[in-house]
């Protein structure tokens, strides 16, 4: 059983495809691990053991018939609960969707199922993706498998924790301002935010539509790269999806990085940066240089506008996207005397405080008399941030940066909304500019908490990020499962 948990998704699929192990055995091994870890971790909001076993049996039957079972045959997959799954409860970690069973699959989920992956369950997250710790889940936070008293990060904290705890071999997250990369860094796994439009958003419950992107989370860069290849590609149901050749299905291999220029941005190295986080970036830079990459200092002078612009645009879109949760078709319907009261009460009961805060901010900044000063101004700032990256990418092929300002912190530590928003400072510019970003583990703090770094790339150039990523992985060591029982404290 531990042998199966130690393998990468690609290696698992190879074993299953070759008939050396059945998909059913793989799924059972992961479900057993899940049963062991889940009471302490709470990575999942729903587990579909029966569905997973049935899907595994279907994969095994396909193999027995000699049918092509797909490149991810038998790989246990955890899906963030912000992504809809046909027939499997999807809540966005919100009471307002409690009990809703989607009648359809997200395109990314459908493509993964077609590739043979087995959905084991839906992972916890901050409500509607709004948060950086999973503490904003309506159904309780996720613990960091490396230290149960610390947060898993967010908003895709459940997916990251499931990987680190060994209860999934592969996961899907969504990233609006760092929601894949930050929890990946905090849990010591790989997380990729693809280029905006690379992966269809059909079935991704919208938080901020111009920023949201579904992406893979995995134990290796190669697993993430293959998963991206499976889920990427234009989709008629998402007009913002890009009709571009998909990234290669073949996993990236470690090679010479000579000829590649990697940028280090001054703006991502503030004087007060946590020394251990800075150390991880330095280690990564040294490793990339040792593999042949050239390090170049670049300027991203409008970086300071990214955070305020993000916290105008994202709430503006969120207030709009969440208007559909009106108590008529979803969620609780408290007694009310009239329609307006029904709306007010249903939304007050259904939404958590962070969601309410962002709806109120978003409503405020798009009011007819505020829009020019806030929303329109933020869009101009966004353009400047994008221009910064365009200029930088004429000089370099990728940018190396920290992911989160700190390693996994204690639950309750970021107790004001502003301190929470500031935790996204290094990740959200990537979303504003629509760029791909790859977060991967790079060492640990002295007390054993994972540290991560991220590589940002040109639009549609995930391949270069993966090339750099596998080299870095080879140099600093791959992601590891957290030991069980966890080192930071018994469950």
């Amino acid at each position: 059983m531990d042998d199966l948990l130690a393998r990468s998704a690609i290696a698992l699929a190879a074993e299953v495809r070759a008939g050396r192990v059945s998909a059913r055995e793989v799924v059972d091994a992961y479900l057993a691990r899940l049963a062991l870890t889940e009471p302490a971790i709470h990575a999942y909001l729903a587990v579909d053991a029966d569905g997973a076993r049935a899907a595994a049996a279907a994969v095994d039957a396909a193999i027995a018939r000699g049918d092509e079972p797909g490149p991810l045959a038998g790989v246990p997959l955890a899906v963030k609960d912000l992504i809809v799954t046909r027939g499997l409860a999807t809540t966005a970690a919100s009471r307002i969707l409690d009990g809703w069973i989607p009648p359809y699959d997200a395109t990314a989920v459908a493509r993964l199922r077609a590739a043979g992956a087995i959905v084991v369950g839906k992972t916890n997250c901050d409500e509607f993706g709004m948060g950086s710790t999973n503490e904003a889940s309506a159904f309780g936070p996720t613990a960091n498998p490396w230290h149960l008293g610390r947060v898993a990060g967010g908003s895709s904290g459940g997916s990251a924790a499931a990987l680190a705890a060994g209860s999934a071999a592969l996961a899907l997250g969504t990233d609006t301002g760092g929601s894949i990369r930050q929890p990946a860094a905090l849990c010591g796994v790989v997380g990729m935010k693809p280029t905006y439009g690379r992966v269809s958003r059909w079935g991704a419950i919208a938080y901020a539509s111009s920023l949201d992107q579904i992406g893979p989370m995995a134990m290796t860069v190669a697993d993430a790269a293959v998963t991206l290849a499976v889920i990427a590609g234009v989709d008629p149901r998402d007009p913002t999806s890009i009709d571009a050749p998909p990234p290669p299905l073949a996993p990236p291999t470690v090679g010479d990085l000579r000829g590649l220029r990697v940028g280090l941005a001054r703006e991502y190295r503030p004087a007060d940066l946590d020394p251990e986080v800075a150390g991880a970036v330095d280690r990564a830079a040294a490793a990339l240089a040792a593999a042949g990459a050239e390090l170049v200092e670049v300027g991203l002078p409008h970086t300071r506008y990214a955070l305020p612009a993000y916290y105008v645009i994202a709430p503006a879109e969120a207030a709009s996207n969440l208007a559909r949760y009106d108590g008529i078709r979803f969620g609780p319907r408290p007694p009310a005397d009239d329609l307006d009261q029904l709306y007010a009460r249903a939304r007050a009961v259904g939404f958590g405080p962070e969601v309410v805060r962002r709806i109120m901010i978003g409503t405020f900044v798009t009011r007819v008399d505020h829009r020019a000063a806030y929303y329109d101004q933020a869009q101009r700032a966004r353009a400047l941030v994008r221009d910064d990256f365009d200029r930088a990418f004429t000089e370099v092929d990728a940018i190396l940066a920290p992911v989160a300002p700190h390693a996994a912190f204690a639950r309750g530590e970021l107790h004001t909304p502003l301190s929470m928003y500031l935790a996204d400072v290094f990740t959200l510019a990537c979303n504003l500019a629509g760029l791909p970003g790859l977060a991967l583990p790079c060492g640990a703090t002295v007390d054993g908490r994972p540290l991560g770094v991220q590589l940002l790339g040109r639009p549609l150039d995930e391949a270069t990020l993966c090339r750099l990523g596998v080299a870095l992985e080879a140099a600093v060591g791959p992601a590891r499962r957290a030991p069980w029982p966890p080192p930071g404290g018994a469950p």
Binding site: V84, A204, P239, A319, A323
Partner: protein, 472 residues
Amino acid sequence: MTWEPVIGLEVHVQLATRTKAFAPVAQGYGAPPNTLTDPTILGLPGALPSFNRAALAAALTLGLAVGATIARRCRFDRKHYFYPDLPKGYQISQHDQPLCRGGAIEVWHAGVRTAVALERIHLEEDAGKLSHGAATSRVDLNRAGVPLVEVVTAPVLASADDAAAYLRALHRLVRHLGVCEGDLEKGHLRCDANVSVRRVGTTALGTRVELKNINSFRFVKAAIEHEVARQIRVLDGGGRVERETRLWDGVAGRSQPMRGKEEVADYRYLPDPDLPPLVIGDDDLAAARAGLPELPAARLARLLAAGLTFDDADHLTAEPALADYYDRAVAAAGGLARPIAAWIVNDLTRELAGRPIADAPIDAPALAELVGAIEDGTISGKLGKEIFARMIATGDGARAIIEREGLRQITDVGAVEAAARAVLAANPAQVAQYRAGKATLLGFFVGQLLKASGGKLNPQLASTVLTRLLAE
């Protein structure tokens, strides 16, 4: 003090596309509730809109037909409000970048051709439908997401009559263009009116009131007249017209305030991040231009020029299929515009009894043949009516019936004379009375002669010949 109304209309026109505006779901009227839906139409979490370019093609056709300036690039905005018929909590519309600006719709009103200036035409999606019971309200989202264009006039209409004439012209136009089915009972066109009044002789606009829910064309005139009168009453009483939105109650024949000044809706328009900018290419414009038919106002003018009465021309151009039928008949007859028009407007319309021209019992060339036979004197007009009935009954052509039944009108004067002599010979007493001065007996002889000829004789000719013979 005299006041004059200033009226602008906003008309929502449902576009007759196969599928909805932002989802690959069929649209149609009368399906069981909530069956024409999918995750997008239902506003389910995770669902996204994808624009149906057939709606663009229809909107471009209308934009070109009215001579509007077409944007080459525009966008969709979200218009936010909460209502149970709006599943997303916003309507996808176009706010500050409409597809079309300007242009005009030509209106024939009381025999005069005028043009009503438009401000804009923009694309948007329809909402669902609510039905209210005693204790519950039900939502049907079949109509949700049906593509609409909103056609907005400038404040240029000077009376309720003008407004009604404009609406008829718009209705006729969209039916001719084929962009809308135009069934008013099914709500294919729905109208809001902006009404203000000002002192005669001044140019500044008064405070405007928006009248909503004028869901039937029948209500337009009444609703506007009622509102104009209300405003004049307020002003004459020394009061001030409030800027407000009022709901028209067509049954009660009055309006109710819906939304007051203090609660002017802020729709918080937001560029829709799910939909890329709408780019209109040369090919889109060329395709729309190539599909433009003759416009109804021009068609009406052509029919007038062909010598039709205004009423006939107006009647025929009310329905594109009716006008097409007329054109086909005239083409087949090689002319005869006026008699063909009269036959369609009178006999054929009576025969159809409200059914559409597509159900015409005889086709246009057949009608042309019948009218031709009358006009070239082969048969009398009176006999034409009988042959028309026989054509419908048998499906045979007019000339085939005429030949088969020997109904050709007798035009040989010698033959008529012989028959007339026979009639006179058979009625010597009447001949004597006539010659003694009882001239009214001519009618008797004509009747006898026509009867003897089996209706094949021209009454005029019969009368002429008999008069001559009786004078001998």
